[in-house]
C-alpha cells in the first residue's frame, strides 16, 4: 500500500533559523506531492505542490520543497523561520485518485 512517511513527530527551531521537514513517499511512478500546513483547530492550507518539471518548488509564505526521486523524498524547507510558522505540517501524495497524508510534523518555534 502506498504510504507517506514523516519521520519527525516534533521539531523545534529558534526564530530566524532555517528549517527542513522530511517526507518520504512510496509510490513508484511520478508522484503528485503536496505540503499542507494546519494551525491549531484549523483546516489545511496548501503550501506547495509538485507534479513534474523543476524539482525545486516554490510555495507560499517563503517555503520551498525539493523532489528527489533517488531518495523518494520531498523535503520542505524555509531559510528563516518566523514565530507564526509554528503549526503542524503534512506531506501528502496522490494514490489511486486519493490524497494520502503523512502523520504530520509539529513545528515549535523558540523565541
Amino acid at each position: 500500500a502506498q504510504s507517506v512517511t514523516q519521520p519527525d513527530i516534533h521539531i523545534t527551531v529558534s526564530e530566524g533559523a532555517s528549517l527542513e521537514l522530511r517526507c518520504n513517499y512510496s509510490y513508484g511512478a511520478t508522484p503528485y506531492l503536496f505540503w499542507y500546513v494546519q494551525s491549531p483547530g484549523q483546516g489545511l492550507q496548501l503550501l506547495l505542490k509538485y507534479f513534474s518539471g523543476d524539482t525545486l518548488v516554490q510555495g507560499i509564505k517563503g517555503f520551498e520543497a525539493e523532489f528527489k526521486r533517488s531518495q523518494s523524498s520531498f523535503n520542505l524547507r524555509k531559510p528563516s523561520v518566523h514565530w507564526s510558522d509554528a503549526a503542524e505540517y503534512f506531506c501528502a501524495e496522490v494514490s489511486s485518485y486519493k490524497l494520502i497524508f503523512g502523520s504530520g510534523t509539529r513545528l515549535l518555534v523558540r523565541p
Binding site: V4, Y32, Y36, G41, Q42, G43, L44, Q45, L46, K49, F51, F90, A92, V94, Y97, K98, L99, F101, G102, S103, G104
Partner: protein, 112 residues
Amino acid sequence: EAEVAQSPRYKITEKSQAVAFWCDPISGHATLYWYRQILGQGPELLVQFQDESVVDDSQLPKDRFSAERLKGVDSTLKIQPAELGDSAMYLCASGTSVNEQFFGPGTRLTVL
C-alpha cells in the same frame, strides 16, 4: 476569496447519540470530500462525491456513518450512534480534481 464552510465548528455529544455535520463547498466545485483526522494523525478520506454521486466510500464505516450530497452542492455527514472512538476533527474539502483541494476549518467532535 471563496472558502469551504463547515458547521458546527465544535460538537460535544454523548455516546449513542446522533450527530450531523454540514459542509458548503466553494461554488462550482463538483468534487467534495469528507476526511476524518484523529488527534496526532493525518487526515483520512471517508467519502468522495462527484456532484451528487458517491465516487469512493470504501473507508466509511457504513454501519454508523452516512453521507449525502443532495443536488450536488452542500453535503451532510451523519454518525448514528456516535462512539467514543469517533472523537476527531472532521474536515470537508472541495475542488475541481484530486490535485486541487481546498479545505474547510473542520468540525471538532468530542464524544463523551
